[in-house]
């Protein structure tokens, strides 16, 4: 598959996401924030970083980038979209996913190897995992606390839209330990931790994150 990775001004983990896509067996395609063009890709990753310096609000400016018009439209047609960290924030700001990400409850940036439980393996990005699988991948964020109103949280849990939950320790004050969610269709996934930093034994936090890229399956969602 051809997987696009968008670079916004201030994107940082775009090279990492491209590497993870390649190691996952796909072709990485660089996408530019200023282009109204997805270059015919089969899936899109919105990578981590501090797009537009996180000025105003994380992801609030990026959602207006020309490329996002195309991403939102394509996501509506079932294109698999994975937003990691800042990408998750952009997906929430774009209303492709509900809720929002706020400053960590302890007010500090945190970088650690984080244990998660995969709670939904029926999304476009998690089919490689067993439901209930416990994985350790990198977490690094300053504004990673997932919040939503109670009704939304109940709905996310009730509909199985919680993709991953923090185990052992909630690193940022996310409500109900939510680390990642998906839309009703299962093609759009937002994840605060970084699977692209856990795809090689040599670097990062082991290889538990590789499944997000090897398991990518587009056909079922379009």
């Amino acid at each position: 598959m051809r997987v696009g990775v968008v670079t916004f001004p201030g994107s940082l983990d775009d090279v990492d996401a491209q590497r993870a896509v390649t190691i996952g067996g796909h072709q990485a395609v660089a996408l530019w924030h200023g282009d109204h063009d997805l270059r015919g890709v089969d899936a899109v990753v919105l990578p981590g970083g501090f797009s537009y310096g996180d000025y105003l609000r994380c992801g609030a400016i990026s959602r207006f980038a020309p490329v996002m018009t195309e991403v939102v439209a394509a996501a509506g047609r079932g294109l698999p979209v994975l937003g990691i960290c800042n990408g998750f924030q952009i997906l929430c700001e774009s209303h492709l996913l509900p809720g929002a990400l706020v400053r960590n409850d302890h007010q500090k940036f945190v970088c650690r190897d984080q244990l998660l439980r995969i709670e939904n393996n029926r999304t476009a990005w998690t089919s490689a995992y067993d439901e209930g699988a416990e994985i350790t991948i990198v977490l690094k964020n300053g504004e990673g606390g997932f919040v939503a109103d109670t009704e939304t949280l109940d709905r996310l849990e009730g509909e199985g839209q919680v993709v991953a939950r923090y185990l052992d320790l909630n690193p940022n004050g996310s409500l109900r330990d939510i680390a990642g969610i998906t839309n009703a269709r299962g093609n759009v996934v937002g994840l605060m931790p970084h699977p692209e930093h856990a795809v090689e034994a040599l670097t990062g936090a082991g290889t538990d994150g590789l499944g997000f890229f090897t398991g990518l399956a587009a056909a079922a969602f379009s």
Binding site: D13, G49, F50, D54, V138, E200
Partner: protein, 765 residues
Amino acid sequence: MPETPAPRPAVLDTVIVAARDPDREQPWAELGLTAEEYARIREILGRRPTGAELAMYSVMWSEHCSYKSSKVHLRQFSEIPQVTSVGPMLAGIGENAGVLDIGQGYAVTFKVESHNHPSYVEPYQGAATGVGGIVRDILAMGARPVAVMDPLRFGPLHAPDTHRVLPGVVAGIGGYGNMLGLPNIGGEVVFDESYLGNPLVNALCVGVLRHEDLHLAKAVGAGNLVILYGARTGGDGIGGASILASVTFTASEGGGSGPAKRPSVQVGDPFMEKLLIECTLELFAAGVVAGIQDFGAAGISCATSELAAAGDGGMHVELDKVLLRDSTLSPEEILMSESQERMMAVVDPADAATFLQICARWDVEATVVGEVTGDGRLVIDWHGETVVDVDPRTVAHDGPVYERPFARPAGQDALQADRAEALARPVGGDELRATVLRMAASPNLCDKSWVTDQFDRYVRGNTVLAQPSDSGMIRVDESTNLGVAVSTDGNGRFTRLDPYAGAQHALAESYRNVATVGALPLAVSDCLNFGSPEDPDVMWQLAEACRGLRDGCLELGVPVTGGNVSLYNQTAETPILPTPVVAVLGVVDDVTRRVPSAWAVPGDRVLLLGETREELSGSEWAHVVHGHLGGLPPRVDLAAERSLAELLRAGADLITSAHDLSDGGLAQTLVESCLGHMVGATVSVPDDAFVSLFSESAARVVVTAAAADVAALASRAATHGVVVTDLGETGGDALVVRSSSGEQFELPLLALRSAWMATLPAARA
């Protein structure tokens, strides 16, 4: 876009005005110049300087920019052959940063700098802009910055002011570095009373380039354009210039409407710096950069004079073309502004359109502000009138050089006679156990993840090792697994006791740390943090440290590639512990063979490499338990360091882990090796058990190896003349220590880990 302000013809101090009005009083003293220096400027120019010229000379001749007090001592570093184990240096001392060949067509550049004083005044912005400055230095060499490290020193952990400085500095480094997408792979966190009013915030950056991409800071080729790009110029970091503006200009204007005194600490915008990095790398790749200079201290004054002085001609700049954040800035202030995230490039006119197009793609503002000329002069105009006309070399290179007096301090002999070896020691297993536990939880030895977890160590996906490893390690090439390892070390207490030996200890430890992870040490960058050069005692420390470092580098065959000197680090009359911080960079042919620092499996043999002597003076034990500093530091044996490093490489295939011995001695190394993966050990230490555990003798490393490989490793050690002591075996859930005379104690790892990890979070709670 704000309108460019109208010129102020009535008050503009041009070259013509200066000639016509030679006796005007000028605020040279307020700008930090001495009467002699001011007289020298008048002599160079053959007239009084204009206000703008005075501004330029005053910042470029400052201690920070001119190294006027340290230059005579730094010169000896250029006596070290500029060649590493891989080959000749590609760029050496004098450039923004030294550049080393690491093979396969790759080069690396690295440098450590200080941002001490700003970080005390405003911890967050001071530390943040320290990262920004060193990253631009590396970028200006044509390299992609790939990692940062931060050697940090603070006052006592529990002092109230530390609670202001420490969190601010850590958040500033994280806030800036994390947003640049540069992994923070190591550094130091040290607490000592002497840093209470004067923290040391040093920052290191490593960059990677292909040989052919090397760029130097030169303004060459008459007719080439000078382009300023990046952030706009504002009123930050120009305390001195504001004095100038208010004294000479606002006053003569007859009103008080000029700019007030401005904050002298710069404010960083890491988002702009990230754009600047990507934009600059794209400019290099497009081949449209003939010369480049980053903006650091002294802003446009520095960039224009250094570019012109290093080039083959002169430079003409139209200062009113500079894009401003504050339209009321005077030409003097624009010249001195230390606004961050700016670069200056020299560009062939044929490439200018491409240059500006690339900048626009990255939303980076760029303006042609002048051109390279052939007359050897640096001429700066303000709305058509010349306010600067100087020989750029007199600004950038011909600053004053002082042979400051220095002398061995009167109290040095008494200090060295007060030996820690005479202090009361723990006796018996219980006291030894309590001491190990207390030491592990002490501020300098405890777990530092409260600090390092605020830094992104993973971004870019090439971090092979990061803190708490002995060195950070970065993969340079994904197909060949070529990489580099870097460590920074310094020991202010050892240096206080003997500056010559202390500087060599910093070098030796850093060299050893790089070898411990399996790298070949290549070269050094240093940051020399000292008190006031006007104090002969301090100058003696500086002189001795420089001499020690030079001799050490000569003996180890590692050149000094560049660095930084930070003076006037003191509170009232009391200087900091003299603190030369030494960074050593090494090359790793195959990063997959890196040696981890913690024990991974039970059943390995634990081996001590190197000799232990009774050396407790200046040790962490004397500091923690007795609050004592006196005696002579451990003996430096660079030949032993070299043999040890060679053995670590020769035995890399047999070694399953390696961790050096330094602060806290063998006890702390055992503790850290156990806690990495929570694998215990049972070890027997030679008598006297206390000395074995807490002596800080240099040139020692603990390694592990499979039992079947011990004989082979011992045989290689013998070849290299390194003593091996088999201490015991890994395994279990406790650290069990026995001595030959029967003392014994046991520390369950869970309890040990709790104590080790609790200190920083508890102090910050």
